[in-house]
Every structure is written in structure tokens, then in C-alpha cells.
């Protein structure tokens, strides 16, 4: 919302400066977004008088002038044809910035003659495009500030334009008068009284208005009158200047009148060219499928139920949003029908949104105009049309009724103080409300008709608080909820998430935060991309579906980094994935991705390609940190984005999957443009059972003094036998004695033959009561061999 200071002063009697006004507006909740104050550009310039003007000795077109200034007589070289003795000019001195030529002046020599400043043209001061000569003022004294002269003689030239942001609850501030009222309540002046006029009708309007029965909830009241014999044409200069100053294009007197009321009083109006209206006007709901060319010359098609205005031939106006081109006023209009109506604001918002029209009328009608002003607006606008265009008004025709919006709420001064935490005396509270147009009756505050936003006691508090100024609010300590050391606040899952994040980072991964939405193709690779997770209005096709998994986002991040020449990557993310489109269909995932080599090639030969066992080790470390049990099953058969033979599901039983590690499927890498090798892990923290016990106590530590013994065994098995099965079989041979079983070697093929491999294990025996004798060791070894053979069909390697 833009307005000029002089426009504001139509409604507000004030001596406040622009700075005071803008500061107050922002503090009142009418946030100032910009101020264009021409005076600030012109502040340096003063008036001067040319005493003499002589021909420049070396230039035909230049004159050397002696100029009387506030700093004495100065010599100035000037090229303007009108530079001559006796005229009053605007002087820019050395050091002054001249906006129109973007130059800061200095003392110069022009063709050998010193010049101490310049006499400015209107264009040089950005006052107009006039550049035929320097400014000649009809009055003014030497040394007077040019801005002061303008303020007194040509105030439009220095009229500041203020732009404010209006929050949706304040339609009243979409008119200059509403803004003035707020400032007056703050004490920055007095609100000027408004005039009310009644223009008697001289005949009955030949156009009648009806509101269809089913449209009464969409249009509360529709008032209008015909004014015949008007002479349309450009509106007067003062009105054009005003509209231009706030960025509107003057069109014609009739249209400019409606725009004036829109911005002056938040009162959109419409004018029909009465000669183009066939028959009467009828407010009704569209059947659906009708079309209308709007004043913006675009065609709009209506859906059933949208409120429109028709004449006998069809739809002529999108009610309260935009008029139709066919019945719009032109320079030739001689009979005009003026409309002032109160529309249901919800209906306006819905229709406006559906038709995608952003007009000043829609903006105001959907936020709420003052219904109490409707009939007065008809009279005031009639008067203005008569003043500007002449003509003869009809009687006013009205359909529907002005809605009764009167209501009152209790003002509880103590509650205001308790909520705001400021001492605002009751008197001041009542004064504020009165200044804003409320009527106080005991402790009941009656709401003015222009404030649709005030719908309860809390709104009264807000009004009092903002006028009292929240800038003055002083902080007041809030006592702790409980005394003493604050209790921990994170839930077990929140702690788990944090531990997982820091553990993965400690393992050398860089945390990413990628978008929650990805493209459909990538989502489909990870069993997502269905309609359930589709966005209705994505910002681009790259962000069309909620991610089913974090890995596609990480893989795309990897591809971007590879494109930048960064090939060895360890990326991770902790965040939500979406297995459906309902609020509860979201789960926390921890995903890590390794691409390329373990590090740059190095002098120690330590760099190698990443492999599945890197991902496995990291997955296990993170699961361990999150409190997962050490004893897990490794199963196959995870989803299709994993390499079918090179992945494992980390499970507690076949249905409880804590995570998956593995190589990514080459097709997935190709589709997402990632150059492999690439291995990854996915973990689901919520799947890890919460510990049963509470309390921090650890079980007692048992240390055995007796010497432990290690024995190695090598077995030959079929190549598809899982090492873990072999290890578990060995460990089961004597659960009391065997402390640990480790695989330390794997050898495939070679002399063992096709489809065979050798696995070597170390078994650590820890006696607890007596030292192991050779016979004991032999016995347990035999049991180990037997168990392993039975479980895996292994042969002891000779």
C-alpha cells in the first residue's frame, strides 16, 4: 500500500516529520517497506541570483556568470541559453551530489575559466525531463533552501511517497484514512472529520438491480445509481498526480474516481457504461462454462457457483473482482452506472484464487471493506463524479441489505496488563480504543464497522498493546519451571538420532541436508514415486515426490560432486523418509554413502576402492552406538536397489530389520549418473528395541586369571556357505569355554577347485576354573570340528 504524505494530510492534521511518521507506522504494525522522499535528494541545493552573465572568452555557447549566493559572490560557467542577469536559480555547490547527472561537483575549469558550482535544470534534479534551460524561479531569496521553496510553492514536487506492508487482518489500513486513524490514535496528530453528502436523485434509475435468491449469501447489498449526461475525459491534474505518485496509471475521470476511493477509503467501486448495459443488472451464480473478457482484456471462464453480475445479454462483471471490458467506461461514456456493493469476502477470495485475478478490488473485497460506509460511498462518489464530469444523478437503487456487523466485547484492563506485561492504565486503554473508533459502553467495547478482524477480547488486547508501543516493552525474567538442575529434555529417540549423527561424522562422513522431495524417476528406483507421495503443486519436476529413502538424494549429491571433480565421497544424512502421504507415514532414517576410494592415492599405498565391508563396519559401529544388540543376523533379500549378491540385512529375526548395508545396484548408479564403486548403509533407529532396564549400573566385571588359549582351524566349504554360520557353529561347541571365534582368512577356488573355499578361524578358549590341559584342548577341538562339519558340511583342511 502506497500513499503520499500530502494525501495522508487530507485525513490527518499533523506536524510530524516523515521520519516520525514512518517510525510510528512500523511500530504500530503497519511496517514501512520504503520511503521515497524527493526532499532528501534536494536537501543541499539553495537559491541564488545571477548578477551578471558575460560571454566566455573561448566558447561561443558558454557564459561566465557572477552569482550571488549565501556564501558570497561566485563565478560559475554556464551553457544554458536562459542564463542571464536577474534570474533566481537553483545552485549546486562544489561537494554537492547532483542526482540527474550522477556527479559530485568539484571546482572546475571550463575552457580556462574557473567555475564554482552549477545552476541546475529540472532534469538534473530529477524533477522532470525538462532540460532546455536552467530552472528560473519566480520568487525566493538568495540562500533559501530549494526544498523549502518547493514545499511552499510546489509541494507535489517534494511530496514523500511511503509504502507499507499491510497484514491480512487490517483491511481498514488499505485506505489512507485508516492509516491516518492509527497515527492519530498513537498521538501523531488529529484525525480530520469526514464530510457526508447526500445528492438527491432527479429521476428513477432506468437500470434496476436484483440479487438472485441463491446468491444472497454471496452479495449482502448492491447499491447503484445512474448519472446521465456526464462528460468523461482526463481527470484533473491533482488527481492524476496522486494516482501516479502511488504507481497507478490515470485512465479517465470516471475510472480515476473509483481508484481514488479504493485507495482513499478502502472502498472499491465500479462504473458501468450504462449505454452498453442491456436491461437490468442481476447478481447471480454462474452456471459454469460462461466466459467474460475482463477489463484487463483477458478471457475468464467461470465455474458453477461463482458470483457474477449479468445484464439481459449475459455476464458483464466478475462481482467485486473485475468489471467486463464490454461495459467498461471510455472517453465517450455519457451515461454511467455507479456500483457500490458488499460481497461475501470468502466467496471473493475463492473466485479470485480460482480465476487467478489479483486486482485492487479483489484484494480489498476479500480482506473486508467497511459495510457501514457503503451507502455513504455512493453519495460521495456521485458528488465527485458530478464535480469532475457534470451530469444528473438518478435515485439510488438498492438490492439486499447492508449487513449488521455490530458487536461488542468486554475490555478487561487487568487481563491486558497480564498478557502484555506492561503497565497500561485503564484510562489509556479506553482512550486508545476510542481513538480507533470503538465505542465504549461501560466495559463493553463496540467494534467499528471497518474492523472485521476484531472478533474477541484478545483483539482488544492487541489494539491496546500496539498503540501503546511494544517497542517500550521491557523483558521480565521467566522463572524456571522447576528449581534446581534442569532435567534432561531429549527423548530416547532424539538422543539416538543425535548419537547416530555424531558417530557417522566421527567415522569420516560429511553430513548433508538434502531436499525432502525428489524427482519421480529417482523415487521410483527406491520403491517410491507413487501418487500417494506426489505433490500436487511441485516447484519443479525435480522435486515432485516425497523421498521414499535418503539414498537417492545422497546419490544425486554424489553425482553433483563428481561433476565438480570430487570423486571420493563419504556422505550421510539423518532425516525423514516418507513411505506414504499420510502424516504418520514418515520414518527416521540414517543413511551413509561411500563412493570411489577410501582416500586419495598416497605414499603408503593405503588408498583402495571402497567395498561392502567398509559399509558393514560403519553400519555396525553406528548401530552399536545407538544401542543395538551386538548379536544380530545377517540376511539377504533386501530391496532391489542393492546389488543382489553383495548386501546384507542386519536383523533381529527375519522381520526386524535394523539396517541394510551393501553395494548399490549398478542400474541405480547408472540411472543417477554416479560413477562407482558405491556402497552404502541404511539404518532405521526406531527399529532398535529400547533397553529394558533403566538405571546406569553395569553388570560386575568378571576377569579370569587363567591363561587363555587360541587355536586355529581351516575348513574347506562350498563357496556359498556363510562364514557367520560357520562361526556360530564353532562357538556353539562349548559355550562356557569358547570366548570368541574370529574368521581370519578366506581363500576361494585355486587348488580347492571350483565352487569351494577355505575359511580359517581362530578360536579363543578361556578356562574359568582350572588350567587347560592338552587333552581338554583336544576334546574341545574335536567338538568344534564336528559341529562345524555338521552345520556346514565342511572338511578340515589338511
Amino acid at each position: 500500500m502506497k500513499f503520499t504524505l500530502s494525501w495522508l494530510k487530507d485525513h490527518l492534521d499533523t506536524t510530524a516529520t516523515v521520519d516520525e511518521i514512518t517510525e510510528a507506522l512500523t511500530d504500530l504494525g503497519l511496517e514501512v517497506e520504503g520511503v521515497e522522499d524527493p526532499a532528501s535528494r534536494l536537501a543541499a541545493f539553495t537559491l541564488a541570483k545571477v548578477k551578471s552573465a558575460e560571454q566566455h572568452p573561448d566558447a561561443d555557447r558558454l557564459r561566465v556568470c557572477m552569482v550571488d549566493t549565501d556564501e558570497g559572490e561566485k563565478q560559475i560557467v554556464c551553457g544554458a541559453p536562459n542564463a542571464r542577469a536577474g534570474i533566481t536559480v537553483v545552485l549546486a555547490k562544489p561537494g554537492d551530489y547532483v542526482p540527474g547527472i550522477d556527479v559530485t561537483l568539484s571546482i572546475g575549469k571550463i575552457r580556462g575559466v574557473e567555475s564554482h558550482g552549477m545552476m541546475a535544470s529540472e532534469r538534473e534534479l530529477e524533477l522532470s525531463d525538462e532540460h532546455d534551460g536552467i530552472i528560473e524561479l519566480p520568487s525566493g531569496a538568495v540562500g533559501e533552501r530549494f526544498v523549502d521553496w518547493l514545499a511552499a510553492n510546489d509541494p507535489d514536487k517534494v511530496d514523500p511517497v511511503i509504502e507499507i506492508a499491510i497484514t491480512p487482518n487490517r483491511p481498514d489500513a488499505l485506505g489512507v484514512r485508516g492509516i491516518a486513524r492509527d497515527l492519530a490514535a498513537r498521538g501523531l496528530g488529529t484525525l480530520k472529520p469526514t464530510e457526508t453528502v447526500t445528492v438527491p436523485g432527479q429521476f428513477d434509475s432506468p437500470i434496476d438491480i436484483t440479487i438472485e435468491e441463491d446468491t444472497r449469501d454471496g452479495c449482502h447489498v448492491f447499491a447503484g445509481r445512474l448519472i446521465r449526461g456526464v462528460k468523461n475525459g482526463p481527470s484533473p491534474e491533482w488527481l492524476q498526480k496522486r494516482l501516479r505518485a502511488i504507481g497507478l496509471r490515470p485512465i479517465s475521470a470516471l475510472v480515476d474516481v473509483t481508484n481514488f476511493f479504493t485507495f482513499d477509503r478502502n472502498r472499491p467501486l465500479h462504473v458501468f457504461d450504462a449505454d452498453k448495459v442491456k436491461g437490468n443488472l442481476r447478481v447471480h451464480r454462474a452456471k459454469g462454462g460462461e466466459t467474460l473478457i475482463g477489463l484487463d482484456e483477458k478471457e475468464y471462464a467461470f465455474s458453477a457457483g461463482q458470483v457474477v453480475i449479468s445484464d439481459d445479454e449475459g455476464i458483464e462483471s466478475i462481482a467485486g473482482i473485475m468489471g467486463g471490458l464490454a461495459t467498461g467506461c471510455t472517453e465517450e461514456t455519457t451515461n454511467v452506472f455507479l456500483e457500490a456493493a458488499v460481497w461475501d469476502h470468502i466467496q471473493i477470495a475463492q473466485t479470485g484464487r480460482a480465476l487467478k485475478i489479483n486486482s485492487d478490488a479483489r484484494y480489498r473485497n476479500e480482506r473486508g471493506i467497511d459495510p457501514g460506509f457503503n451507502m455513504k460511498a455512493v453519495e460521495l462518489a456521485t458528488q465527485m463524479i458530478l464535480d469532475l464530469c457534470g451530469g444528473e444523478p438518478s435515485n439510488v437503487v438498492v438490492a439486499g441489505e447492508v449487513p449488521d456487523v455490530s458487536r461488542a466485547y468486554r475490555l478487561d484492563p487487568a487481563r491486558v496488563q497480564s498478557l502484555v506485561g506492561m503497565d497500561i492504565p485503564e484510562d489509556a486503554q479506553r482512550e486508545t480504543l476510542t481513538a480507533l473508533g470503538f465505542t465504549l459502553d461501560g466495559d463493553m467495547a463496540r467494534v467499528p464497522s471497518w474492523r472485521p478482524d476484531v472478533t474477541g477480547e484478545a483483539d482488544l488486547v492487541e489494539e491496546v498493546a500496539r498503540v501503546a508501543s511494544l517497542t517500550k516493552l521491557q523483558g521480565r525474567p521467566m522463572p524456571r519451571a522447576s528449581v534446581g538442575v534442569p532435567a534432561p529434555v531429549l527423548s530416547p529417540m532424539q538422543k539416538r538420532e543425535q548419537i547416530a549423527r555424531r558417530t557417522v561424522a566421527a567415522l569420516g562422513y560429511n553430513e548433508c541436508v538434502t531436499y525432502s522431495f525428489i524427482d519421480q524417476a529417482a523415487a521410483q528406483l527406491f520403491d517410491g514415486g507413487t501418487d500417494a507421495t506426489r505433490l500436487e503443486n511441485p516447484i519443479s519436476s525435480e522435486m515432485s515426490h516425497m523421498r521414499p529413502d535418503l539414498l537417492p538424494g545422497l546419490l544425486q549429491a554424489a553425482a553433483r560432486n563428481q561433476a565438480r571433480g570430487l570423486g571420493d565421497l563419504a556422505l550421510f544424512e539423518v532425516g525423514p523418509a516418507f513411505h506414504g502421504g499420510e502424516p504418520e507415514e514418515q520414518h527416521l532414517q540414517v543413511a551413509g554413502l561411500l563412493v570411489g576410494r577410501t582416500g586419495p592415492k598416497d605414499v603408503h599405498g593405503a588408498s583402495r576402492s571402497v567395498d561392502v565391508f567398509d559399509a558393514k563396519a560403519d553400519a555396525e559401529a553406528v548401530l552399536g552406538a545407538m544401542g543395538a544388540p551386538a548379536k544380530v543376523q545377517i540376511l539377504r533379500g533386501a530391496e532391489g536397489w542393492w546389488h543382489p549378491g553383495r548386501h546384507g540385512k542386519i536383523c533381529l529375526g527375519p522381520k526386524k530389520v535394523l539396517g541394510v548395508f551393501g553395494e548399490l545396484h549398478p542400474k541405480v548408479l547408472r540411472a543417477l549418473d554416479v560413477k562407482g564403486p558405491a556402497v552404502a548403509f541404511s539404518l532405521w533407529p526406531a527399529e532398535i528395541p529400547l533397553p529394558r532396564k533403566s538405571g546406569a549400573t553395569r553388570p560386575a566385571l568378571t576377569i579370569h586369571d587363567l591363561q587363555a588359549v587360541e587355536r586355529d582351524f581351516a575348513f574347506v566349504v562350498d563357496a556359498d556357505v556363510a562364514a557367520l554360520d560357520l562361526v556360530n557353529a564353532a562357538a556353539g561347541a562349548d559355550k562356557a569355554l569358547i570366548e570368541d571365534v574370529r574368521v581370519f582368512d578366506e581363500f576361494i577356488g585355486g587348488s580347492l577347485g571350483e565352487g569351494r573355499k577355505s575359511l580359517a578361524i581362530t578360536v579363543r578358549l578361556q578356562p574359568t576354573e582350572t588350567t587347560l590341559k592338552d587333552a581338554d584342548i583336544e576334546a574341545v577341538s574335536a567338538r568344534i570340528i564336528e559341529k562345524v562339519q555338521k552345520a556346514t558340511g565342511a572338511e578340515l583342511r589338511g
Binding site: 511496517e31 474477541g456 484478545a458 560429511n510 553430513e511 531436499y515 505433490l535 565438480r564 532425516g575 605414499v603
Partner: protein, 356 residues
């Protein structure tokens, strides 16, 4: 006997390796060595002679043994010296490389916020990111026709055929978590709700996803003055310097009165310095919870009141750590992650400071 001594001490001193030492040992004090043989002769001597010669021979034997031992150590030392002289490495070569991970600024600042608010008794509440229309709007006093809905650039979820519920949305703010928490925990209540939020907006300073942290405190007598204090405490702790705030009246459907909050800063030299200077920077929206919102969360507005506020985590991260642009936050450029990221063990705490 002195001759004998001199002979061996000299020989030991001249010995050049362990073998020579061993030969001398055998020759002098071995079983059949010269001194041993002499000791055997003691038996043939008179007791008087023996009393003189015996101790002398023993002393000689001891002296030669120590000389042998000392020489042995000296030779070993010399040999080690010699070996070490050849054992030279170019230690300017790089160490074995180790990957260094990092924590994203959003996570770090999230933890910083948590640490500060936890100290003031705020728990951490979370909620779904795909939200129902009711939780995201209606319950927050934003009815269907409210212009704020259109202004929020909401992302909508596609609706299945025949599903006549209002479409779900990607939450446009963390405020729905307020309602869910009130429903679940009732009053009194102190929570912060951090998390991802979504708006259909993408330009220099906006990304379609960003992060917010919401705060909510409900009790019998909480006022806007308490809110100002809590925020000033927060910002001072977060930025590590005293930060003043300025409240400006504004409007949000879910609070009344509402205020935009600016923090004190200076823009001198083209960079923002928080907690200095005379300028103000808008960082959050806040206010007293609207009675309708309390009622939507099943809390009696006649008995309870409280404040709520919401601010951008990414934004305060940018302010504190001097990160110029928002968009790279979500681009995962490794160079950015390394430059702006945090070490895994850099856990923000109140006792140790929130940042290094």
C-alpha cells in the same frame, strides 16, 4: 699380579666386538682361565700368603668382570648407534590419510538451540512434515478463506480419487507441533519444535525447504514481557554477546497480540554484526497464543495463557557463522560441507560453550 691386570684391562679396552670380549672372558675368568687357575693355586699357599693373595685375586676377578660387562654395553651401544644411523626416514612424507567427517550447520545450530532452551526448561517436540489441513491451518486460526493461506505458498499433496478430505500439506511452519503437543501434554507446557518446513518459493534468498524452531510456553501468568526476556536470553547465549531485541506490533493469525522481533546489529563494512550498533534486523515472529489456538489444543483459554515464537534455523546459522547464501545449505557441495561444517565431537553445551 699388576701385570696380569694391566694385560687384561688393556685387552678388554682394545676388544672390537662381542666375540673378542667372550674370548677374553674365557681366557681370563673362564673355568680354565688365567685367573681361575691362579685361584686354584691358593690351596697350596700358607694361610698368611692366602690372606694376602686371595682377596687380591678376587678383586682382580671382579674388576675384569666389570670391565667386560662395561665394554659389552659400550659395544652394544655403538652397534645400535651405527644401526640407527642407517635408519632414516623422510618424515616430511604425509601421514596415513584419514577421512574427516563433518556435521551440517543446521544440525549444529539445532543442538545449540536445544542446549539453551533445555536449560530454560523447554523440552523438544517433533511432528510430521506431511500435515493435515486442520493442524497446519484451521487449528492455528487460519480458516480456509484466510488470505494468509494464499500468502504461505503452500505445497499440497495430491489427493487420491474419491478422497474428499482437504488435501494434506507439507507443513508451512512448525506451528502444527504446538497443537499436537498441547493435545498430548496439556498445560503447563514448555517446548521447542525444530524441524523442516516447506514453502513453494525459490529464489536468491528462499528455498522450498528450510528449517524452523518454534517455541511455546503456557502457564498461568506468562506475559509478552517474559517472551522478550526469554528471547534476549536466547540470543545473548546463542551469539555469545549481549543482544537487545525490539518488538514491533504485527499480525499472525495464531497469536494475539503479535510482534515481529528485531535483534540489534550493525551493518558497518557490509557485514552483519549481531549485538553491536544501532540497526535492527528482523529475525522472528512471535506473540501471545491466540485463545482459539489454545482451545484447538484442548487447553482452556480462560485458565491458561502463553507465548509462542518461530524463527529460521538456517537464517540464524547464516547470521552467526557468516554464511552468505541459503541455497548451498541443501546442495551438498563437499567443499561447502567441509568449510562450514563442524567436527563430530564439537557438541554444543552450556558448560563448555556453544561454539569454539
Amino acid at each position: 699380579m699388576d701385570d696380569l691386570r694391566d694385560k687384561y684391562i688393556q685387552a678388554i679396552a682394545d676388544a672390537s666386538d662381542e666375540d673378542a670380549i667372550e674370548a677374553l672372558r674365557v681366557q681370563a675368568v673362564g673355568k680354565k682361565g688365567e685367573i681361575s687357575l691362579k685361584m686354584r693355586e691358593l690351596g697350596k699357599m700358607t694361610p698368611e700368603e692366602r690372606q694376602v693373595v686371595g682377596p687380591a685375586l678376587n678383586a682382580l676377578k671382579d674388576e675384569i668382570n666389570s670391565a667386560l660387562a662395561a665394554k659389552k654395553v659400550a659395544l652394544a651401544d655403538a652397534a645400535l648407534e651405527e644401526r640407527l644411523r642407517t635408519e632414516w626416514l623422510d618424515v616430511t612424507l604425509p601421514g596415513r590419510s584419514r577421512r574427516e567427517g563433518s556435521i551440517h550447520p543446521v544440525s549444529q545450530v539445532w543442538e545449540e538451540c536445544t542446549a539453551i532452551f533445555a536449560d530454560m526448561g523447554f523440552a523438544v517436540a517433533e511432528g510430521p512434515q506431511v500435515e493435515t489441513d486442520w493442524y497446519n491451518f484451521d487449528a492455528l486460526n487460519i480458516p480456509g478463506h484466510h488470505p494468509a493461506r494464499a500468502e504461505m505458498d503452500t505445497f499440497y499433496m495430491a489427493r487420491a480419487e474419491g478422497d474428499n478430505r482437504p488435501p494434506h500439506v507439507l507443513r508451512t511452519h512448525t506451528s502444527p507441533v504446538q497443537i499436537r503437543s498441547m493435545e498430548m501434554a496439556g498445560a503447563p507446557l514448555r517446548i521447542i519444535c525444530p524441524g523442516r518446513v516447506y514453502r513453494a518459493d525459490y529464489d536468491q534468498t528462499h528455498t522450498p525447504m528450510f528449517h524452523q524452531v518454534e517455541g511455546l510456553a503456557i502457564d498461568k501468568d506468562i506475559s509478552m514481557a517474559n517472551l522478550k526476556w526469554v528471547l534476549e536470553e536466547f540470543f545473548s547465549a546463542y551469539f555469545g554477546t549481549e543482544v537487545k531485541t525490539r518488538f514491533r506490533a504485527s499480525h499472525f493469525p495464531f497469536t494475539e497480540p503479535s510482534a515481529e522481533v528485531d535483534i540489534q546489529c550493525s551493518f558497518e563494512g557490509g557485514t552483519v554484526k549481531v549485538g553491536e550498533g544501532d540497526d535492527w534486523l528482523e529475525v522472528l515472529g512471535s506473540g501471545m497464543v491466540h485463545p482459539k489456538v489454545l482451545a484447538a489444543g484442548n487447553i482452556d483459554p480462560a485458565a491458561w495463557q502463553g507465548f509462542a515464537f518461530g524463527m529460521g534455523i538456517d537464517r540464524i546459522a547464516m547470521l552467526k557463522y557468516g554464511i552468505p547464501d541459503l541455497r548451498p545449505f541443501f546442495d551438498s557441495d563437499l567443499r561447502w560441507l567441509r568449510h562450514y561444517g563442524f567436527a563430530s565431537l564439537d557438541v554444543p553445551t552450556i558448560r563448555g560453550g556453544l561454539s569454539r
